[in-house]
């Protein structure tokens, strides 16, 4: 009987490209990550029209209890006690960059007078571009 010489293959999983895939994912996450300057939890109003907000916009947020927080777009948002402080902050930001975009991030259930005070402060601070942060309205929203 003739015996075949057996070549023994070591079982192995090819892992050479795993690092490539992993680094590709890392690059994706590094490019898409945006650091939130305002972490206020709100239920945003829903709109059909929604436009992309420029990065590093300044934020004014109003939580469901009517508390106002402001951020210049670079630093984390800080609590302010009155809308007048929004005016002084916005005036300072506009003095540095007259084209600065402001975002009003308010809970949908907040009464209009609160939002009105903030918008009025932004108007008085000569802010031109304001975005009202919203969620997408869908057909199921009625």
């Amino acid at each position: 009987m003739k015996l075949k010489a057996t070549i023994e293959h070591k079982p192995n999983i090819p892992t050479a490209s795993m690092a490539d895939i992993a680094f590709l994912l890392i690059i994706f996450f590094m490019l898409t990550i945006t650091f939130e300057v305002d972490k206020t939890q709100v239920v945003l109003p829903k709109t059909t029209l929604r436009y992309e907000i420029p990065k590093q916009s300044a934020y004014v947020s109003i939580d469901p209890n009517g508390r106002i927080r402001v951020s210049d777009g670079n630093e984390q948002s800080a609590l302010v006690s009155a809308a007048d402080e929004v005016l002084s902050m916005a005036a300072g930001v506009i003095a540095m960059d007259p084209q600065k975009v402001f975002v009003v991030k308010s809970d949908g259930e907040v009464s209009w007078d609160k939002v009105d005070e903030v918008i009025d402060a932004l108007k008085r601070a000569k802010v031109r571009d304001v975005y009202l942060l919203s969620d997408q309205r869908t057909v199921t929203d009625g």
């Binding site: 996450f29 945003l44 929604r50 009464s111 609160k114 009105d116 005070e117 932004l122």
Partner: protein, 145 residues
């Protein structure tokens, strides 16, 4: 001549590279938060001390009650009825101001709803964008009365 048969292969150990990479991926996946970065643009007019006086009779006034009900030029109206109501008026005068005036106690979402609807005027057959105005309480008190 002596041949060195036991010389190990030149190679960089890469077996732990994937571990490090996946550790970084897990970090980014955990710290990434998907946030809303879209909204409705709301261009503010110049804060002029002497703004053009808009007579209430020349404009369309949309009042929003705290319950979300709409009163357009003194008549109750549904949201989807506003554009058809405005259409003939804006055909005569496309620059006619449409003033949104929510009650102070009205939830903000109702104001956004009406503003969103008016901004879609061109999609509903209007020739030009609607001249929308949302005066603040200070402006109403200063210039209207």
């Amino acid at each position: 001549m002596r041949l060195d048969r036991d010389r190990p292969d030149d190679e960089i150990p890469t077996s732990s590279m994937a571990d490090i990479a996946f550790l970084l991926i897990v970090f980014f996946m955990i710290t990434t938060t998907f946030t809303a970065t879209r909204g409705l643009d709301f261009a503010l007019p110049e804060d002029d001390d002497d703004p053009p006086v808009v007579e209430k009779e020349e404009s369309v006034l949309i009042e929003i009650l705290p319950t979300g009900e709409l009163i357009v030029d003194q008549d109750p109206m549904q949201l989807h009825e506003i554009i058809p109501y405005l259409q003939p008026k804006l055909e005569r005068n496309p620059k006619k101001p449409v003033i949104i005036r929510p009650d102070t106690a009205t939830p903000y979402k109702y104001m956004v709803q009406v503003y969103d609807e008016l901004r879609q005027g061109e999609d509903h057959g209007l020739a030009e964008p609607i001249n929308i105005s949302v005066p603040t309480q200070r402006e109403i008190q200063s210039f209207w009365y």
